[in-house]
């Protein structure tokens, strides 16, 4: 079996996050008017999830690049034990009339805790979006892959009562990965975009599905600043 240090993986994930950052649902036909977006969302994605985000348009040339940072957490009685952060970017690669094709790559750091274990994971989420974008509305389709690259396990006293020899630490190879595909749409008015997206989630073996085998997100973007503002 291949032997390597997890610190290497973490470095790569972090580098990807810094280099390509991006995310949230964007109307590519009105992003040119503003440089910054703040974003809030609620939806279902491995649980009932709430999220906030911030995007900053780095370039506005032929290939607009938007850097994004996101934070989301699932509901529950303990709100701080589970969360996911994404840092990355989305790049509009092609435009034909009102049709656009964009790709995104995000570095992911997520945490999970229950009575038995605390997990910390570094991963990467990559996807592509193709859609029809008008100034006041848009509709498109997306497909992507969310890979859990390296996961750190720290088990509780309760789990060790059941299995004292459990091994804590970083685990390899990659502990998980899920494909997702779906549709997204939205309307834009004044400085706001109301967005809706949803679709299916399928595990990397193309057979099994997660407990919640779908995702859905209702989001709101608020555009701030105009082009040229820094």
């Amino acid at each position: 079996m291949k032997k390597y240090s997890t610190s290497g993986i973490v470095f790569i994930a972090f580098f990807l996050a810094q280099a390509t950052a991006y995310t949230q649902t964007i109307n590519w036909n009105n992003i040119h008017n503003n440089r910054q977006l703040v974003h809030a969302s609620v939806g279902a994605e491995y649980g009932l999830v709430f999220g906030v985000g911030y995007s900053y348009k780095l370039t506005d040339n032929k290939f607009p690049l938007v850097a994004t940072a996101e934070y989301s957490f699932p509901s529950g009685s303990t709100l701080t034990d589970d969360f996911k952060t994404k840092i990355g970017g989305q790049l509009r690669l092609a435009q034909l009339g009102d049709f656009r094709f964009a790709v995104k790559a995000q570095g992911v750091f997520r945490r999970y805790e229950n009575d038995l274990v605390r997990l910390a994971n570094w991963g990467v989420d990559c996807s592509g979006t193709i859609g029809y974008y008008r100034p006041r509305w848009f509709a498109g389709a997306e497909a992507g892959f969310d890979k859990a690259i390296a996961t750190h396990f720290k088990h509780s006293h309760q789990y060790r009562e059941e299995y004292p020899e459990v091994k804590d630490g970083w685990y390899e190879p990659a502990t998980g990965g899920n494909f997702y595909y779906g549709l997204q749409t939205g309307i834009s008015f004044k400085r706001y975009d109301l967005t809706l997206k949803g679709g299916n989630i399928l595990a990397q073996d193309f057979k099994s599905k997660p407990i919640l085998p779908f995702y859905a997100q209702l989001g709101c973007n608020f555009r701030i600043g105009s082009l040229g503002e820094k």
Partner: protein, 337 residues
Amino acid sequence: MIFKNYFLVPALLTFVFSCSTKDRTITGPGNLVAKTVDQDPGLPAIQVNNSLLHSEAFGPAGATMIVALHGGPGADYRYLLPCKDLAARGYRVVFYDQRGSGLSQRFPKKSYTAPGAKAMDQLYDELNAVIEHYRTRPDQKVVLLGHSWGGMLASGFTGKYPGRVQGLIVCEPGGLQWKDVEHYVKDSRSMKLWSEVLNDAAYLDQFINGKEDQHEILDYKMSMLSSKNEITGEGAFDPTVSWRDGAVIMDALFDVGEKYNTDFSAGLNDFKKPVLFFYSEKNRAYPDSWAQRITAAYPSVSRVKVPGVGHDGIITNQKAWTGTTLPQILTYLSTLQ
């Protein structure tokens, strides 16, 4: 600069070494979940029907045999060990982890589902083989003591072979006919969308995935999901402890049940001996009306409601065990002599 490198290089190497993932794969035996009997020869085991089972027996070898059947499907007998008290009272008490469960040998999912409607026969044949393994004389009496899924298995076996069982003790089986099983599972797992338990269960799926027969991963994920249930009381207010879950057999038997409507009550009309039936006060999915509905399948039954405990507490709660469950079992066993 040289000083810095002298410091930095060892520090970096130490960090890299501490992060080394050597021997830590989520599929590796013994890493996240306990090894099974085929992986650890030091565990007590018996070989029956081409399957290596984790098993122990206590008490006089020739005495009335009480076979303890654990829940799940896919759980293990660790939480049933208070039943060892029966060995001190002169009974032969047999424990075993069913195939694909606990620390017993694992098999592919298809091996459970391939027999179709006869899938349960593998488990009935296995129970029969366990009894024969420990039997020391032909007239040795056999009493089955099943908890939850184990109660369903015990009832199904008794209905199929009524002459092979001299006594039946059942603790809170979800249902005996499949529509009742589905109803109970739905009731006992009806968690709120925004609850911590449901979100804990679902959120894990983005961290760990397992393919169909990757037992180590799937068993580990199952152990994360089955740790606590405030509706039935499992792990919530009664202590419960296990060795390892068997996710694949659980999944397979639910698939088979849904497809073929497995009936664990078939043939019970032919079992005329008294049945001792326990249910718990604090399992909100098991009210009196449900206990009455389930026990209607037994021609002769005594129902005992165990106060102050939930599903597992019937056996795992020391106060309930010594105060209610054990005395009732001893009284029942004395009537079989």
